[in-house]
Symmetry: D2
Subunit: 229 residues, 4 copies
C-alpha cells in the first residue's frame, strides 16, 4: 500500500507484524480464561481498548517508508517509541525536491496555535511566489556550495525546512494510536495531518477491529471521526 | 519453531517482521549511495555491525511465546525495550507446574557470582528432595487457600519462584542482541542461558547474516562462540 | 521522607530533580510567549495538563528506595519508563522477611478481577495460619539448602512471592502519573495500592500544583479523589 | 554552568539529580555485600563500568538548556532515551539568529563521511559569502511572508537548517554516555562535537569518578582522550 501525500511525498507500508488477532492472542496469555468478558475475539479487543489495557496492541508492528518535508519529519521524530532510519544529508546530496504548498494559511487572532486557509487569491499568489523564489534561491546556493567543493554536511545548512527527506519508521500499534491522537487532529499542523490520515487508513485496513475500538474508546483527536476513510 | 527448554518450559517463535534484508533496506534509506562500503547486502550488514550502526536492526521484530519459571521471567522483564504480556495469577489459577532442576549448583569461593554443578550424588539427592518437598508443600497450601475461598491474588503469595509462568514477548533484533549479550553468557544464571541459546538458534535461522555479523563484531558473551547451534 | 508500607515494607524519597517550576520552565522554552494562556505559572501547569501536553513533566524526576514483596515488585517492574536497581538473590542471602497480610480477601462472583476483605474471623485465622506456615516451611527449606551448600541462585527458587525485596527506582513525573493512574486505583491489587497512595503523598508534597492539576484533568483512578492525603 | 558554543549557541546545566554516589548507592542495593569487589566507592564505580553494569548510572540525571542550529538539533533528537522540550516555530517567531561557520570544510575523496577544514582563503571567503547571502535572503522572505499575513507555521518552511533553536533536555548519565560515544567522536559532524565536548566537561565536573571510569572502559570515541577538559 502506497499513498501520495502532499505535492511530492508518500507513505508506504513496507511490512506488518500481526493483525487484530495478535492483540487477542497476547491478551489471552495475560488473562487466561479469567477475563470477565465474553471470549469472542472482537469483543475482547473492545474490552481491552475500553479499559485502557493497551499492552496487547504492542504486538502489532508496522514498518513504513515515508517521504515528507523536514519540518514534518521534525514533528514525527518527537515520537520516541519507534525506530527511525532517515536519509542523511551528510552523506548524500539533496535532490531538487521541496514542498510547495497549494494554499496559504493565516494565523487566527483568537488562537495563536490555529492557522486557517485563506481565500484571497492575491495574497495566495504573492505568498507562493515568495516561497517559490526563496526555495529556489536556497537550492541554487546549495548547489553552488557543492560545486566549489564545500562538504555536503556544511552546504546543507542553507537548505530550507521544506526540503523533502525520507525515512523508515517501525512502530507498534499502541505507539501508532498515540501518534494518531496527536497528529490526526485539527491542532496538529495541516501537513502532518495529511500523513496521519493515510496512516489511519492503513491501520483501518489491516486491523479493522482495533481501529474501530480505537475510534470508539481511545481517540482524542477530531478529524477521523465521521470521515469515510 | 518451538523448543522445549528446562523441564517443562518452552520457547516458541510466534511471528517475525522482516529479515536480514529489512536492515539492509533501512540502512540504504539512511546512507543512500553515500556509504563507502561495497553495496553488496551481506557486506553492508557486516559494515553496520562493525561500526555499531545498530538502528537498522530495529526494523527486524520477533514475537515469542515463552513458558519459564518466575525467577527467570523476573530477569527477562528487566529488558525494557520490548513488549510483554504475561499470564496473571490474579485472574487465573496456577497449574501444578514448577521447575525442578535435574542437577545442583554450588557457589564458588573465589567468585560470589559464580555457581557450578556438583557431582556429589548424595548432596544432589538431598537437595532435590528438599526442593521437591518445599514446592509440593507450597502448592498444597495454595490449593488449600483457594479451597477455603481466599482470593487468587492473595493465595499466590505462598507460591515459590520456581512456578512456571507464560508470556508473549515482542522485541526488535537490536534489543534481542543486547539480551543475548547479557543472557547468553556464563555470568547469567544457568536457567536463562538455556532460553538465550534457543533464541540465538532462532535468530541465526531467521537472520543468518545479521547473526554472523553479531557474533563477529558485537557479541560480548562467551557461550555462543564456537558452538554449533 | 520515608513511609512504612504494609507490615515490613517502606517507601523512601531519596532525591528529586526539580519541582513544579521545572515543568513551567520547560514549557516556556517550547511555547515562548506564543502560548495562549495567561503566563501565570500555576495556570500554565493546569493548561498543560488539561491539553495533555505531558512532556514538560518529564523534567521532574524522583528517586525512590522501595522495600516491597516480590509479587508487588513484579507489578511495579512492568512500568518500563524508569530505572530500576533491585537487590539480587543470586548474590545476597534473603533475610527472614516476608509479607504476612493482616486481613484476608475473597474473590467476588460478579467480577473475577475483584477481591474484597472478609469479616469472617474463623476463615481469616485459618487462612493466615496456612500462609504463615507455608512461608515458614519455605524459608526453612531455603536455609537448609544454603546450609548443605546449594548456590544462593538455586536455593531461592523455593522462596515464596511474599518475600521482601528492595530496589531503587528513578522515574519522571509523567511516568509516575501513569503509575498512579494504574496502581492508585481499586482495580489494582490492594498491596500495590498502599505504595501508590504514599507516592501520591510525596508527589503532592513536592509538586503541589502538578498534583492538583493531575487529579483534576488526568487521573483515571478512583482512590485518590476526595481523600485527604 | 553555561558555555558558549559555536557563534551564537550555548549549553547550560539547569539542574542535576545525584552524583557519583547515586550510582554507588543504587549498585549497593543490587549487589548488597555480595559483590566481589572492594567496597570502596570509587573502585565500585570502576567495577560497574568495566563489567558494563550500566543501570546504576541511570540514577544520575541532568537537565540542560541548549541553543543550537536546527541541523544539530536534528541529530540530537535521534537520542530517544531522554526528554525534550523544544521552542516551536508554529507558535513563536524566529529571531534573526543563524549559525554562520567561521571556517569551511570539504569532503575527502577516500571517505565520503569525512569532512576536513580547508586553508584556501579564497574558497573560504566565497563559500561564506554564499552562505551568508542565502541565509539573509531566506530570512527576508520569512519576514515578508509574516508581514503579509502568512501563518508562522507556514512561513517557516523557507527558513534554513542553520536557524538557531532552543530546547530543554533531561537525560540520565547512561544515555549521556551513549551520546558522548557517538557525538564526541571525529565521525560526528564538527558542530555537534563542540556541544559534546562541553557536555563532557560538565559531566567530568559533576561526576568525576564516573567520567574517569567511562573514559577508561566505555568510551568508544576519539576526541575526549588525552584532552585536558
Amino acid at each position: 500500500m502506497e499513498y501520495k501525500v502532499l505535492d511530492k511525498g508518500f507513505l508506504r507500508l513496507v511490512d506488518i507484524l500481526g493483525d487484530d488477532y495478535s492483540a487477542v492472542k497476547a491478551a489471552r496469555v495475560s488473562y487466561g480464561k479469567g477475563i470477565k468478558t465474553p471470549d469472542k475475539d472482537k469483543k475482547l479487543i473492545f474490552y481491552l481498548m475500553e479499559h485502557k489495557h493497551e499492552t496487547p496492541f504492542e504486538h502489532i508492528v508496522f514498518t513504513f517508508h515515508v517521504k515528507t518535508p523536514i519540518f514534518v519529519a521534525r514533528q514525527w521524530f518527537r515520537h520516541r517509541i519507534g525506530s527511525f532510519n532517515e536519509a542523511s544529508l551528510r552523506y548524500t546530496e539533496l535532490k531538487d525536491e521541496f514542498y510547495i504548498p497549494n494554499h496559504i494559511r493565516k494565523n487566527v487572532k483568537e488562537d495563536k496555535q490555529k492557522a486557517v486557509k485563506v481565500e484571497d487569491e492575491d495574497l495566495k499568489n504573492m505568498a507562493l511566489e515568495l516561497i517559490n523564489k526563496a526555495i529556489e534561491d536556497s537550492y541554487r546556493a546549495y548547489k553552488e556550495l557543492l560545486k566549489i567543493g564545500v562538504a555536503r554536511e556544511m552546504a546543507r545548512i542553507v537548505l530550507p525546512m521544506s526540503s523533502y527527506t525520507q525515512f523508515y519508521w517501525t512502530v507498534n500499534a499502541r505507539s501508532l494510536m498515540n501518534f494518531l491522537n496527536l497528529r490526526a487532529d485539527s491542532h496538529a499542523q495541516f501537513e502532518i495531518q495529511q500523513y496521519a490520515i493515510k496512516i489511519a487508513e492503513i491501520f483501518k485496513e489491516k486491523c479493522p477491529w482495533t481501529f474501530e475500538a480505537f475510534l470508539k474508546f481511545n481517540y482524542r483527536g477530531d478529524i477521523l471521526k465521521g470521515v469515510e476513510l
